[in-house]
Symmetry: C2
Subunit: 203 residues, 2 copies
DNA sequence: GTCTATAGCCAGATAGAC
DNA sequence: GTCTATCTGGCTATAGAC
């Protein structure tokens, strides 16, 4: 029974780099620490990825390519707006529970280097909002949902699902709960978020 | 007509440190850059704040102390839930437009060092959620609003107001707008967010 | 209080043996 | 491909003159 990941040196490095970069960011990460985690030495990092910047970019692209299909669930899927909202809220929260550092990492590094998003757009799997806009406008005309701007609705859906993971330590402090209680609250949000949104837009 | 800020060396340093730390984070900030921005030399930073860590903590506490009263608007104010939501959404968005890097900075550094929140709790102005919880439960019993968990509602309010600022570059990429259009969307949210929430909880 | 000069360390990157 | 040893630069912090 072999490992699900290749254990070539190159992929060992990438896995180690992911875990260090995603928790410490580009500036906080140390090449030595990545090498230690991968069980090899610093020279190998440069042999395979040339320098820190390129290793970082490999990790970033990889992270973004995991996130993009999640967003496409809500943007390009064929179900109704209500179904999309229910599916996305549940699926996204499940997904992030398994990759807790991912959205924060992506958002953070985009803040430090906004031009990076352009490089991501070159990928043809980059999420596109047009279909979602048309669908919302159609359902509004249709009378299936209340009058609402599609862009604002999209931002709301994203905010409600993503923010609690990004601001976890702040929220835990404010609402005075420990890790176990926070986990329960997140679990509840798999349905609570969708209900909250749908309550707001249904007629 | 004198400046609103003291222009003592000490406060010049703090202002410069704010702007550098809030955009680059602890790890990305350089003492030299802070000194340049303050128009003095590196040695002075150490003379007044001893080391980088202590200078950083001064900036962080200062940032948190600006954010806390904003949160207390929704937690400890005496108006109805509906009024609170309208006031907070409008006021908070106005506030952050003037301090755009602040929430991201606080959330980010708390992620890297979650124990920091404990130090913030020592301050007696630290926001407390109890009153808000009682009020929501009361208004639910009362029949003024729909059945909803107070903690989840609080997280929703925070998410909808804060997230768009934190994820600005990502959102701008996804919805394909430039800076001007994004600003207009944010301006619209001063009322749109409150309407969205209230639609969801009103009977 | 403010400056220049520099100590001392640590990180990224490379050279070169195997 | 993989390693050890080392270079080089940059960064925090301090010493010490004024």
């Amino acid at each position: 029974m072999k490992n699900k990941k290749n254990d070539t040196t190159e992929s060992l490095i990438l896995e180690a780099a992911k875990s260090i970069f995603q928790t410490k960011g580009m500036d906080g990460a140390r090449m030595q620490e990545i090498a230690d985690k991968a069980g090899i030495n610093k020279a190998m990092l440069h042999y395979y990825y040339r320098n820190k910047q390129l290793l970082f970019e490999a990790v970033f692209k990889n992270a973004f390519s995991l996130l993009a299909p999640q967003l496409n669930t809500i943007l390009n899927d064929d179900s109704s707006i209500e179904e999309k909202i229910r599916n996305f809220s549940s699926n996204y929260i499940t997904f992030i529970t398994e990759h807790p550092y991912l959205p924060n990492f992506v958002i953070q590094e985009l803040n430090k280097n906004p031009a990076f998003i352009l490089k991501m757009k070159e990928n043809k799997a980059f999420p596109n909002i047009e279909k979602f806009k048309k669908q919302v406008d159609f359902e509004v005309q249709n009378g299936s949902i209340k009058q609402i701007d599609a862009t604002q609705l999209f931002i709301n859906i994203l905010s409600l699902n993503v923010f609690p993971f990004i601001a976890k330590p702040l929220i835990m402090g404010l609402i005075e709960v420990d890790d176990v209680a926070f986990k329960a609250i997140i679990e509840e949000r798999k349905t609570a978020v969708a209900n909250f949104i749908i309550n707001s837009i249904k007629l």
